[in-house]
């Protein structure tokens, strides 16, 4: 029933807290920052499984999924979410944040995670990244706003441009 078209509808973003840990300080801050920046935010609450996150994302028809992981389980949970999305044929871009070592970030990006924000990243940085990289999804189309400087359609669009600088 939601309005479509016009191109100016609010982006719908899912902020998901996967894993069993209770560290929701970051997820709540990001959810609030994204809401204050004018996006529509759906917060899943804690202890979500990848299955639960993907089901909510599809049901809520979100434009992107952001996951917060601080339990060290990122190498399991991010790929699982991506696999489930692929299985559902849902092309929803995924980004996230947490305590994630540099080498793992590179691997996760190769696997298709759009961006990873690590401790010290500011709310502003996240908001700007979303504005620059996430667009409204038309049904069945790639959700990532294609960047002019990327030469061609890519199954796993790169965001190395920003993240390379962010990692210390």
């Amino acid at each position: 029933m939601r309005e479509r078209g016009g191109g100016e509808r609010k982006l719908r973003l899912l902020v998901g807290k996967v894993g069993l840990d209770g560290h929701d300080r970051g997820a709540k801050i990001i959810a609030r920052a994204l809401r204050d920046a004018g996006f529509e935010v759906i917060y899943t609450g804690l202890h979500q499984t990848p299955e639960m996150v993907v089901a909510t994302a599809i049901q809520e028809d979100v434009d992107a999924i952001s996951l917060s992981i601080l339990s060290g389980a990122h190498n399991t949970l991010f790929p699982r979410v991506l696999d489930l999305l692929r299985a559902e044929n849902a092309r929803i871009p995924v980004f996230g944040g947490g305590i994630i070592p540099v080498e793992d970030i590179l691997l996760l990006k190769k696997a298709g995670v759009q961006a990873i924000f690590t401790p010290g990243a500011s709310m502003q940085e996240v908001v700007e990244w979303v504005r620059a990289n996430i667009g409204p999804r038309a049904a069945g189309k790639e959700g990532v706003r294609r960047k002019r400087r990327l030469p061609s359609r890519s199954a796993s669009p790169k965001t190395r441009r920003r993240s390379g600088r962010r990692k210390k």
């Binding site: 209770g22 809401r35 060290g72 389980a73 190498n75 709310m123």
Partner: protein, 560 residues
């Protein structure tokens, strides 16, 4: 004549000084900031003088060490008698991996053990539960059955060490496993020393590892208190924790208030169940954060002791002075550490540890510099332990008791901290106590608000994090990070499978049935939990059985 001029000097007030000395100086060079505040945004005056302590009575506010109101410390000789316990929290991988780390720490002069459990264990789930995927052994040690607990303490005589176990929602099961290991080692339960965190209220507020709803959870805790009071009399039955509340983003005063309100909640529940307050209150202990604002933290520890002694003496009418004295563990603030320039964390930890000691803590965990990146390496954890040893044995701070007492500033800040905490505790009392306050989401909202405010202050540059929003460097500092092999999960699942195949199925089935029956009545749950543990029922099976009767907790999914 001489005497009169002396008096004249003495009578110069702060206002005189502000007019005559300060103002011209400020005209020449103004202060760095329009206002100065603590890390928690509590306003700080330019100068504290005797005028700030007018009418302040040291007998009433301080007392003497080991005496009411315990502001100066819970024990008469404090660190002159015995240094604080240096207790590094650790656990990772399998029970066998962690057992090796414990033996290493004991060999290096650590004086107590502190067990970190992994997330599935904290949530009462077995390693083969779908929700445990990717989490087994990652943030702590994986314990599923008594067999794992036996491996964890192999070669460590439980009658001789003191052990702290950070476990809450399924605490009764883990305590039962510990007692079962002690029984196998032929250790007398009456000699066991240690602490189980067992603080479920702060889980709903901050750390969020819950299983059952608040009220049935409180029932289990009261059962544990009653059981231990009789059978394990030296065991600290709850470590009422502010640490996680602070890590979730609260202010110092909120940490103090919510923690003490939780404490009040436990005491009330036990008293309501018919226990005599003095039979269990001396075994309650606390656990506070030691954050970066040096004096604010010292004031918090001192105010905590003063408030608690009054609560116990006047509100609960405890008669035993041991019920009045607040004993606490402290841990330096994990959330203050930075992934950027991680070596700076060694300095942060040292200063935070210094505040905790000047605040009079009974035991201390110093964080390792690499903990924003992963679990600590052996090298990093050794530096953290050495930090405590340097404080204890090189700096001289342990030579006298409560050295900052009487400081105009520290006493003013202690009083202010007490007032702010009492206001919040009053607000919680008006809601009907901490359980209704939690059910209404009050502390959760207050913390989320404070944490968002602090993040804004960081982003606007109003508060400094060195290496993050000031003095940043482009190049990363390489630092070794501990890797937990993904094979731990498979190992643990196989181990559990083996236990399931080899245990006596009849005894196991009967023990779980008895447990469910007991949960349905008002019986104390500790004895049936012990029997289930000794029949090698797994943590997930025991918690699952209890859930069928006690229900499950679900949070309200709001972020503001």
């Amino acid at each position: 004549m001489k005497r009169e001029s002396d008096l004249a000097v003495r009578r110069r007030t702060r206002r005189d000084w502000e007019e005559e000395t300060l103002r011209p100086a400020l005209a020449r060079s103004p202060e760095r900031l329009p206002e100065f505040t603590t890390l928690s945004s509590m306003p700080i005056e330019r100068l504290y003088t005797a005028e700030d302590l007018e009418g302040w009575d040291p007998d009433e506010k301080l007392g003497l060490p080991g005496e009411y109101p315990y502001t100066r410390g819970p024990y008469p000789s404090m660190y002159r008698g015995r240094l604080w316990t240096m207790r590094q929290f650790s656990g990772f991988g399998t029970a066998r991996d962690t057992n090796r780390r414990y033996r290493y720490l004991l060999d290096h002069g650590q004086t107590g053990l502190s067990v970190a459990f992994d997330m599935p264990t904290l949530m009462g789930l077995d390693p083969d539960d779908p929700r445990a995927l990717g989490e087994v052994g990652r943030e702590g040690v994986a314990i599923a059955t008594l067999a794992d607990m036996e491996a964890l303490f192999e070669g460590i005589p439980l009658a001789e060490v003191s052990t702290s176990m950070t476990i809450n929602a399924p605490a009764a099961v883990l305590l039962a496993m510990y007692l079962a290991v002690a029984r196998r080692q032929k250790a007398d339960w009456k000699q066991l020393r240690g602490t189980i965190q067992n603080d479920i209220l702060k889980e709903y507020i901050a750390q969020k590892e819950w299983i059952f709803p608040p009220r049935p959870s409180l029932r289990i805790i009261v059962d544990m208190i009653a059981f231990c009071t009789e059978q394990v009399p030296n065991w600290n039955t709850i470590s009422i924790s502010g640490y996680h509340i602070r890590e979730a983003g609260s202010t110092a005063a909120q940490e103090l208030a919510f923690t003490l309100a939780d404490g009040i909640g436990y005491v009330q529940a036990a008293v309501d169940a018919g226990l005599d307050v003095d039979s269990f209150a001396p075994r309650l202990s606390f656990f506070f954060n030691s954050h970066s604002d040096f004096f604010e933290e010292i004031a918090k520890f001192r105010a905590a002791r003063r408030i608690w002694s009054k609560v116990m003496r006047h509100r609960f009418r405890a008669r035993d002075p041991r019920s009045w004295a607040l004993r606490t563990h402290a841990q330096t603030a994990g959330c203050s550490l930075t992934a950027q320039q991680p070596h700076n964390n060694v300095v942060r930890v040292a200063l935070q540890a210094l505040s905790a000691v000047l605040g009079g803590t009974q035991s201390l965990h110093t964080n390792s510099m690499d903990e924003t990146l992963g679990l600590p390496t052996e090298k990093a954890v050794t530096i953290a332990l050495r930090t405590q040893q340097i404080l204890a044995e090189e700096t001289g701070i342990s030579s006298t008791i409560d050295p900052l007492a009487g400081s105009y500033f520290v006493e003013s800040l202690t009083d202010r901290m007490e007032r702010e905490a009492l206001d919040l505790i009053d607000a919680i009392d008006r809601m009907g106590g901490i359980v209704p306050a939690i059910e209404q989401g009050f502390p959760q909202r207050e913390i989320a608000e404070a944490s968002f405010r602090y993040q804004q202050q960081i982003e606007r540059g109003e508060k400094t994090m060195v290496g993050v929003n000031r003095y940043t460097e482009d190049a990363g500092q390489a630092i070794e990070v501990l890797k937990i092999p993904p094979s731990v999960e498979g190992t643990q699942v196989r181990r559990l499978g083996q236990v399931r195949r080899t245990r006596d199925p009849v005894a196991h089935g009967r023990a779980l049935k008895d447990l469910v029956d007991a949960a349905g009545t008002g019986a104390n749950l500790m004895p049936p939990i012990l029997r289930a543990v000794e029949a090698y029922a797994s943590l997930g099976e025991i918690c699952g059985a209890l859930k069928t009767i006690l229900g499950e907790y679900h949070e309200e999914k709001t972020y503001f």
